[in-house]
């Protein structure tokens, strides 16, 4: 049940205090500015100012070959870079009409779900921090590091991963990588349950975040919410199920739902999604098909380095790919993946040139964050902080 707070409207504007929250406030985890109109400790009105780390990615993308756009997508939602990278690669594959082998799909699913776990872990651990429970945060960041160790085995990088290639992955999973994933699947649930035990049914924690920053399903849909934020409000829209990509239809998992879209529901939806992701990774790893780790697209998939140095054709392809000289079909394509916090869409118009004619990122944070003033109106200042961290607004994705 959502209680609406009655606001006492004051007659004169001078009766309110103006509070400038941000852009570099330690409690907002990123560059966010909100100008709040305060009545004592109650927020009467809010205006969000964004764009502090705008880097013109869409303009840059119009001047770069496809491979050079992948690092840009890293820097959108930097808590789950691999999902962005693979979303972009899949967009290009859709444009080119590339069929990826099953093994590639499963490998991608494993990495994407690891990324989702990392993303949700950070968000939920930070909700704990904002309510004053630092312990869970330090525990869970240890496990995020373990996930980063797996990325490191796959692609060599940790945070901004630039993982994968158009048509597949840069290399097959090494035995060490498989071992790390198995170790993670084996050890993590125990520690995660401990973290859940700290917070999920903790009376103090529940009292603190239930009914904080609620949004109804109708408003959430109207505001274009997607991902955990929408599902917390009770709408079962998940791109993985609705428009399966990368063989998600092969896996058995459920979509956790909340009921009233408040901070506690968002927290719980993410908690359960972590458990579902673990299930998906287990299934993918057990049923990992044999085969190649790349599709047959020599014009886009970089040849292995040994061949580049010793083989004329491989060298030519290497240069063609790096310089973006391969032929690209003319057309337009929209592809979306379930990112860390919602439907991450790529709308690309190609005119056959080396760079996209137009590339637009549908960034879930950007679209969801405009509801923020409405969600915090009438609540306390400290609740506003919690609402923001539970929406998992990432500044990089917000501003692109």
């Amino acid at each position: 049940m959502i209680e609406s707070l009655e606001l006492n409207t004051k007659s004169k504007d001078e009766d309110y205090n103006i509070l400038n929250l941000g852009p570099t406030h330690p409690a907002t985890h990123g560059v966010f500015q909100n100008i709040l109109k305060m009545d004592g400790e109650i927020i009467h009105d809010a205006t969000s100012t964004i764009g502090y780390i705008h880097r013109a990615f869409e303009k840059i993308a119009e001047h770069r070959p496809f491979y050079q756009i992948t690092p840009l997508t890293d820097r959108l939602n930097y808590c789950s870079s691999p999902i962005n990278n693979m979303g972009w690669h899949m967009t290009v594959e859709k444009l080119l009409g590339v069929e990826t082998p099953k093994r590639v799909d499963y490998m991608r699913v494993i990495i994407m779900e690891l990324a989702r776990i990392a993303d949700h872990l950070v968000c939920n651990a930070v909700i704990g921090v904002d309510t004053g429970a630092l312990t869970g945060f330090t525990y869970m960041f240890q496990w995020r590091e373990k996930i980063y160790d797996i990325y490191e085995q796959v692609c060599g990088a940790r945070l901004t991963t630039n993982i994968g290639r158009i048509g597949g992955l840069e290399r097959d999973f090494t035995p060490e990588c498989i071992r790390l994933i198995r170790e993670f699947l084996n050890d993590f649930p125990k520690y995660f349950d401990e973290f859940a035990g700290l917070l999920e049914r903790n009376r103090i924690f529940m009292d603190r975040i239930i009914n904080v920053g609620p949004i109804s399903a109708e408003r959430a849909l109207n505001y274009g919410f997607t991902g955990p934020n929408l599902r917390a409000a009770g709408v079962d829209y998940d791109v993985r199920v609705m428009n399966p990509y990368s063989s998600y239809q092969d896996f058995d998992f459920t979509i956790p739902l909340g009921t009233q879209g408040d901070t506690y529901d968002r927290f719980m939806v993410r908690q359960h999604e972590i458990r579902e992701s673990l299930k998906i990774i287990t299934q993918a790893l057990e049923n990992l098909p044999e085969g190649k780790f790349f599709a047959d697209v020599p014009d886009f998939f970089l040849p292995p380095k040994q061949e580049v140095y010793n083989n004329m054709e491989a060298l030519i392809f290497h240069f063609k790919i790096i310089m973006g000289e391969a032929t690209v079909p003319v057309g337009e394509v929209y592809h979306s993946v379930e990112g860390g916090n919602g439907e991450l869409g790529f709308y690309m118009v190609s005119d056959g040139g080396r760079a996209p004619y137009r590339l637009h990122f549908r960034r879930p944070c950007f679209i969801a964050y405009q509801a923020y003033p409405e969600m915090i109106k009438g609540s306390m200042l400290s609740d506003a902080i919690l609402t923001m961290s539970s929406m998992n607004i990432i500044a990089g994705e917000l501003d692109a």
């Binding site: 964004i50 764009g51 705008h54 013109a56 869409e58 303009k59 840059i60 119009e62 001047h63 859709k94 444009l95 408003r219 849909l221 109207n222 505001y223 274009g224 709408v235 829209y237 609705m242 428009n243 310089m323 973006g324 057309g331 337009e332 394509v333 929209y334 979306s336 439907e343 869409g345 709308y347 118009v349 080396r354 137009r358 637009h360 549908r362 950007f366 679209i367 964050y369 405009q370 509801a371 501003d399 692109a400």
Partner: protein, 168 residues
Amino acid sequence: MVNIDNEYILTEITNQFGDKLYSSYEPYGLLTIEFDKNSIKDLLSFLYNHQELQMQFLTDVCGTHYPDVKGKEIGVIYHIHSLINNVRLRVKCYMPIENPSIDSATFLFSSANWQERETFDFYGVNFVGHLNLKRILNADEMDYFPMRKEYPLEDGTRTDKDDSYFGR
């Protein structure tokens, strides 16, 4: 129960709007229509309130710029999604660059608010009926629309970089 597919959507729109629908095609299976920009409000409400379609989720709004197509330089592109039927629709409206203006979708979708501000910010499209149409990602003092094709990516006065070998 009718079968909701691209053909059905197209028939419904054609029956309702006739010649306001300029053209339609299906790149990669996503129905794309070019529509009269003066009637975009009617189209969006029609799709929103349609008994069967229920296209009530605005996925995305963005702009484009084609300098060579005279009279239709600036485009606004809507991606609409029906979550009930899981069908998507892409609507394109083109307008001349001298006075790019189109009705705002904020009367129906709250999510259009910032997306239209973004489109205004980068392409200078005037969304009529938008209550707070000002720049969102760029600085307020900016006096041009940076995503239009005539603006170079980098400051042209720099001499320390030679990108000509890289085709930029």
